[in-house]
């Protein structure tokens, strides 16, 4: 009895999802006969057997995630052992039906196997479900390799996706290549639907549409394939409503932010007992100026000073140019909850304004947002955003960074808690403000984020810091 294991699949490929099992228990297989279709994050690979004989046992099934070296099947190399109907009887239908299930190619949806193995199907989500079962057969020795390496014992799959087989450049006409470049599509990632994979204008648009719609299926190594929605009416009546413009924009922007930004959220709390006293003391004075000295307004001021100490929090990332863009102006966005959805007006040049001015402006912007009078201009150009849900409640939450910004401060409801005060040697009731800082980990390191958040906390606790640095 010989075991056949998952061979080396190529550079940096250590695991794959079983897309189909191509043989059944009892089958007589030949050397080099494909026995398995494996979907790796680089390509779909047909794995040929390195042994010949009668399949005695199959250790994997469709949807399994297997590692290099895992046993796929065992083979009796001594020829014609009779199939074992009993054992085969239970196994066969399973594998057979799996093998016969046609992948849902027409709709472009994933095959059942893919849906079952989502996390590993990232890149191949582009290819595998839509390749009409065209797979890279292995081994495919490179030109430079000697004849001896053709041996199936050392299969060498092509490490690149199926497309790369075409040669140096994607088969697309100059006009199509120009279109792709202008709308920011990497032509080599587009799947051509024409003969020999030729890429048409429509293919490029379709690719772009899928990237934009955020289902990520077309996003090369980044996304997961789109999964069709279930039929909800099976469980009861439903009503479909068109998305409002704001809702649709929010959905698109947040999907984009979530898909592109590696988010981290850190939490801290600020003792704002003293500041709260100051706030109450001067509130009336600010009100006479036409503003409301809210926690949000104060935090706008705090952030405006903070990002000058920590400029990376007022930056954007340009991955295409490998550059960070540092903004020499300080604009702070304020998320406003309206009956139509989330809007984020921006307080411009917040660093050059005093707290009263900011309080007035935040008040005005929020009112405009609710009155549907905000202009696009007033909602653009933010450097960092505050989202204050404290008015509603909550302890902490993890806000999503408002791309192309790189950080957002979430504020939850202040609570009075006993705090050990070494000075008095006793627990004292203190008003604590929970703060959540989400940031783009590509730009900001964890330690810097913690330093930033500590700075914010200290500035809330000691507003004097604002005058010291502001």
């Amino acid at each position: 009895m010989t075991e056949f294991k998952v061979p080396e699949l190529g550079e940096n490929i250590t695991t794959g999802d079983v897309l189909r099992v191509l043989v059944n228990v009892g089958d007589t297989i030949a050397k080099d006969q494909p026995v398995l279709e494996l979907e790796t994050d680089k390509a779909t690979i047909e794995v040929p057997s390195s042994v010949a004989g009668v399949v005695k046992d199959i250790r994997v099934k469709q949807g399994d995630k297997v590692n290099v070296g895992a046993v796929i099947l065992t083979v009796d190399e001594n020829g014609v052992g009779a199939p074992r109907p009993a054992a085969g009887g239970t196994k066969q239908p399973e594998t057979a039906s799996a093998a016969q299930t046609p992948p849902d190619n027409v709709a472009g949806g994933p095959s059942p196997a893919v849906a079952g193995g989502l996390q590993a199907s990232g890149a191949s989500g582009v290819d595998a479900p839509r390749t009409d079962q065209k797979v890279v057969s292995m081994p495919r020795p490179g030109r430079a390799e000697s004849v001896s390496s053709r041996s199936a014992d050392v299969p060498r799959p092509s490490a690149a996706p199926v497309r790369a087989e075409r040669g140096p450049s994607a088969p697309a006409a100059p006009g199509v290549r120009r279109l792709a470049r202008e709308i920011g599509v990497e032509i080599n990632e587009v799947r051509g639907t024409g003969p020999d994979g030729r890429i048409s204008e429509d293919d490029v648009k379709e690719h772009a549409r899928r990237i934009l719609s955020g289902d990520g299926a077309a996003r090369g190594t980044a996304g997961a394939p789109a999964i069709p929605l279930p039929d909800f009416e099976r469980w009861g009546p439903v009503e479909r409503q068109p998305m409002s413009n704001i809702r649709r924009t929010t959905a698109q922007r947040l999907s984009h932010a979530w898909n592109t930004i590696p988010h981290v959220t850190q939490f801290d709390q600020a003792d704002m007992t003293a500041t709260e006293e100051l706030r109450r003391k001067y509130r009336e004075q600010v009100r006479r100026a036409g503003g409301d000295l809210t926690v949000t307004a104060m935090l706008v001021k705090v952030l405006a000073v903070a990002v000058k100490q920590f400029p990376q929090f007022n930056s954007s990332i340009d991955p295409e140019a490998d550059q960070l863009i540092f903004k020499k102006y300080v604009n702070i966005g304020v998320a406003v909850d309206t009956d139509r959805g989330l809007l984020v007006p921006v307080v411009r040049n917040a660093d050059g304004k005093n707290l009263t001015q900011i309080a007035v402006e935040v008040q005005q912007l929020a009112q405009k947002a609710r009155d549907r009078k905000l202009t696009l201009e007033e909602m653009s150009g933010g450097g960092m955003t505050i989202s204050n849900l404290g008015g509603i409640g909550g302890t902490y939450f993890s806000p999503i960074v408002n791309w192309p910004e790189v950080a957002i401060l979430g504020v939850s409801r202040g609570v009075i808690q006993p705090v050990w005060r070494p000075a008095s040697g006793a627990f004292e009731p203190r008003q604590l403000l929970p703060l959540s800082l989400s940031y783009d980990h590509r730009v900001i390191d964890g330690a810097d984020a913690m330093r930033f958040l500590r700075w914010v906390v200290e500035a809330v606790e000691e507003p004097f810091l604002l005058s010291l640095f502001g």
Binding site: R166, A173, P174, R177, R178, R181, G184, P195
Partner: protein, 471 residues
């Protein structure tokens, strides 16, 4: 000093520069075009492609008239009236340059005749007949072109020494002419002079004419040039030139006897050098590489963000049509479009007789880089149109990707190859396969059928060539 400002200033009005200026104007930009000549045109129109093609046309007519004897029609030996010939050539140049100038005026491109000096990343000074102008620009396109390479040891001060510019002036038809350099310029001009009656010899340092071009294509030309030229010396270097009473005494080093020969005139055509010594360039951040080309990114933007460079001065291949394509890329980039220079094929044509033309991946390149290719060749001996014009020596070949059968490159040697190659360029750019070429009906009887039939050769199904399929 006058002051002016413009959105786009283009320095140099060759086929790169004027294409850039005109396209920018078409996109609605305010454009200034600066050149020392009276009209746009550059080397190509004044001292290159255009006058040489006018002369080559005459050479071809003379040559065909001579060959007509073999077809039963005999003309008397041609009498060459050099003055008339020069004025025909000059007429061609004048017509084209004034035409281009006219099209520029219609587009409201401001033409400054004068010498431009950069005075910083946003301005240049133009010194011309009408005084000095300080021109402020938002963007500048450097399209200053190239000049014939001079070799110090061969640069003796003698009217007998020619470069491509003076050779095109056609001072006379010397009894003997030595062409130094077996590249396309030397062979084209050598062809003109040989046909007009000079005894032309060519000396080339490397083992073959047209270095870098696929040998099977060059061989087609070589056979014919052996008859046209008095002597083709390969693997041979010129080590010394000295003027004597009757001509230039040239000393060779290589497989040639006698080592010293005297020629009435000597044409030095050993390549071209970029004109990157743009006055005032050091007032910008523009950088120049070791070979003298201005360095640019794929949009043809230099290290100075407001300045672009296109054409000969921006890199190989130094060809007019490459320059005009780059011109559009640069202007599109200035207009904010996200484009880069990314052709799959830049055609090259040697306008000798027969012509040689190629595009995309050449067989030589592929073999050197280890790219897996398959080559399909169709000899013109089996091409009816070639037989009817008594030019059966041609060859058409496809360089194909063996897996996808995509056309990666095309090479053609034969009469009219320069016109035929355009189909090859389109095939490469469109990602056409051998099958596409095979299934496209080509008119009969034409030389273009050779492209279709070479694709058929690939499948072992050529109508006019019997070649059993290998696989």
């Amino acid at each position: 000093m006058a002051h002016a400002s413009t959105q786009v200033a283009v320095l140099g009005a060759g086929p790169g520069g004027y294409a850039a200026a005109f396209y920018a104007a078409d996109l609605g930009m305010q454009v200034a075009l600066v050149d020392e000549e009276k009209n746009p045109g550059g080397v190509c129109l004044y001292r290159g492609c255009i006058p040489s093609k006018a002369l080559l046309h005459v050479a071809k007519v003379v040559d065909e008239a001579r060959h007509a004897a073999a077809w039963g029609v005999t003309f008397s030996e041609p009498k060459v009236d050099l003055a008339r010939l020069r004025s025909f050539k000059q007429g061609v140049v004048d017509k084209l340059t004034s035409g281009v100038g006219q099209v520029g005026r219609l587009r409201k491109v401001t033409y400054f005749q004068g010498r431009g000096t950069l005075t910083g990343p946003r301005s240049l000074r133009i010194a011309g007949g009408s005084g000095e102008t300080e021109l402020a620009f938002e963007h500048c396109v450097l399209a200053t072109g190239s000049h014939p390479t001079r070799i110090p040891s061969l640069s003796i001060d003698s009217p007998r020494m020619l470069d491509s510019t003076s050779a095109l002036e056609l001072p006379d038809v010397p009894a003997s002419l030595l062409v130094i350099g077996g590249g396309y310029i030397g062979l084209e001009l050598g062809t003109v002079y040989a046909t007009l009656g000079s005894k032309v010899s060519v000396v080339e340092m490397t083992p073959g004419l047209l270095p870098g071009v696929d040998r099977d294509l060059v061989n087609v030309l070589h056979k014919r040039l052996e008859k046209l030229f008095a002597l083709i010396m390969l693997n041979t270097k010129v080590v010394k030139v000295a003027e004597e009473k009757n001509g230039i005494r040239v000393t060779f080093e290589g497989d040639v006897t006698p080592r010293e020969q005297v020629f009435e005139r000597v044409l030095v055509s050993v390549g071209r050098r970029p004109n990157s010594l743009v006055p005032g360039l050091d007032s910008t951040r523009v950088t120049v590489d070791q070979r003298g080309f201005i360095q640019t990114d794929r949009q043809r933007r230099t290290a100075e963000p407001s300045i672009f460079a296109i054409g000969d001065v921006a890199g190989e291949p130094m060809l007019a049509h490459k320059a005009s394509h780059e011109a559009r890329v640069a202007i599109d980039a200035i207009a904010g479009h996200k484009v880069v220079f990314e052709p799959l094929a830049i055609p090259a044509v040697v306008f000798t007789d027969p012509e040689i033309a190629w595009c995309g991946v050449t067989e030589t390149q592929a073999r050197e880089s280890g790219t897996e290719i398959e080559v399909a060749k169709f000899p013109w001996g089996a091409l009816s149109r070639a037989i009817t014009v008594d030019r059966p020596e041609g060859l058409t070949k496809l360089v194909l990707d063996p897996k996808t059968r995509r056309v990666l490159g095309v090479g053609i040697a034969g009469a009219g190859a320069g016109e035929l190659i355009a189909e090859g360029v389109l095939a490469v750019e469109m990602g056409a396969t051998a099958e596409d070429l095979k299934l496209t009906i080509h008119p009969h009887p034409t030389l273009s059928e050779s492209l279709m039939e070479s694709a058929e050769v690939f499948f072992g199904q050529s109508t006019h060539v019997y070649k059993p399929k290998r696989k």
